[in-house]
Subunit: 289 residues, 2 copies
């Protein structure tokens, strides 16, 4: 036995990484080795105390035990530490196309198919809004037939699945197919900002760090078409509270839009909305697959 | 709003750290800010995929859900990643005194007080062993009356609390008081190496990385005296398997001892042990409090 094989403060990460030498999967070895190095660097940088280590163990344990079929507290923790957004961003570099952001927990696998122009607000509550857009490729070519999956919170900040007793199923959801020229449009209401769940360890963390739990108002989109890379993204409402402090760091500058008010009874009648109404236009640019 | 306030791959950690600016406790802010920087660096270094992130979330969740009143899987995870040992080492730099190592899960708050020389093996099973030692201070001064708390596994690798139905309570435990000249001694058996629990996510991790779950044979000590800093440590048996690959990285070169065999009927009779028997001597050096 030589001392170089054994643990010391200086060589701690090196010794642990050496123990991973027989990992059969080379990628797993790479990922775990990097994790160990960064984790040990963190402990050394802050000289973590034993009481802090105890608190960290208790926090991680409580986070795991808060998880059940309907609640994923570790995803929430990843979200509020910006890790979810970072993983999303690294894995979907836009290359000049529309930027991505987090999927979030409220997407349904089967959104209700709707005709272009349909109203997705089933209860009619909220400030009326007309969403128009176009799906294009890298050379500006129209992507006719692209699928445009949309979902959003209502004017109280809730998705249908959060309040099944008071909000109609499929409220503010729609799966649209772009026209031959790539355009799409639908009628909806302006979404509201809303809080992430705060009744678990992640809520404790937000309170301990003086952070609020809110996400600024946004409409979710997944846009996809054969031959192109799909994009999962949001449109953010430029005058929403919390736009500069999204609890999960989902806001990218290119995804923020003004939703100007149109006060024009003739145009309102033409799109079958009350006057006045809000509007937004979203040109979605996909890169090649 | 300026783009500098919003998330990008390049500025991800900076943006999240900025969100911690209002943390009331400055130490919490420091620790979390460092954690965020190292965590984001890790994700970027390996370009963590979405599937790997999913696997990490599932692993952490399962680790939390494995914990109960008798099992702490996050501590075990910290142990096998060398984090427990690092925290222990950073918080107890020896400064030339006897080095520390991990406490482990098998210490009892109330060890049974015993007279110097007592036999701590209550079932008499195992290779007989005489432990002698002395507690001294930084200038070599004897620390009479020092408390020497001892516990160890038996020849099957089990602590009493792990097999209450077959091992007598307090087997291989003792709380001794050093003599006026700082010396202590007791009779015991040679401990055996043993595995950490492998029926949870940490066991899966060890298998996936080709690592065994064993700890080399050792005797635990906590030595303390008024006016000196206490030390929590082990004596490792130099000819034990796994000495160079302790699953929790607890081995330090200064804590390894030969346990030579004495074949001398007269000496065996004098210490009331069968002949032959193993021996070890442990000079414990405490630093000032």
């Amino acid at each position: 036995m030589t001392s170089s094989e054994l643990f010391s403060e200086e060589r701690s990460a090196e010794v642990v990484v050496a123990s991973l030498a027989n990992t059969p999967d080379p990628r797993l070895r790479t990922v775990l080795s990097s994790l160990v190095r960064h984790l040990h660097d963190f402990v050394k940088d802050v000289e973590l105390t034993e009481a802090e280590w105890d608190a960290a163990i208790a926090f991680l344990t409580a986070t795991g035990q808060k998880c059940d079929a309907l609640r994923q507290e570790f995803v929430l923790l990843s979200d509020v530490l910006g890790v979810s957004m970072l993983v999303e961003t690294i894995n979907h570099r836009s290359g000049g196309a529309t930027e991505s952001t987090v999927l979030g927990p409220f997407h349904l696998v089967d959104s209700p198919p709707r005709e272009l122009g349909e109203q997705i607000s089933l209860d009619g509550k909220g400030e009326p809004c007309l969403v128009t857009g176009r799906v294009i490729g890298p050379d500006g070519e129209a992507i006719g037939g692209a699928s445009v999956d949309v979902w959003q919170a209502n004017e109280d900040g809730f998705y249908d699945v959060q309040r099944p007793e008071t909000i109609p199923a499929s409220n503010l959801r729609g799966l649209f197919t772009a026209a031959a020229d790539g355009t799409f449009w639908f009628r909806t209401v302006l979404p509201r900002y809303y809080p992430i769940p705060t009744d678990g360890p992640v809520g404790d963390l937000l309170r301990a760090t003086g952070r609020h739990p809110y996400r600024p108002a946004h409409i979710h989109f997944i846009v996809q078409a054969a031959g192109y890379a799909p994009v999962t993204t949001h449109l953010f409402v430029a005058d929403s509270p919390y736009l500069e402090s999204d609890a999960v760091f989902g806001v990218k500058p290119t995804l923020v839009r003004d939703f100007p008010t149109v006060d024009d009874p003739a145009r309102a009648a033409a799109v079958d909305l009350p006057n006045p109404f809000r509007t937004v236009d979203f040109e979605v640019s996909l890169k090649k697959a």
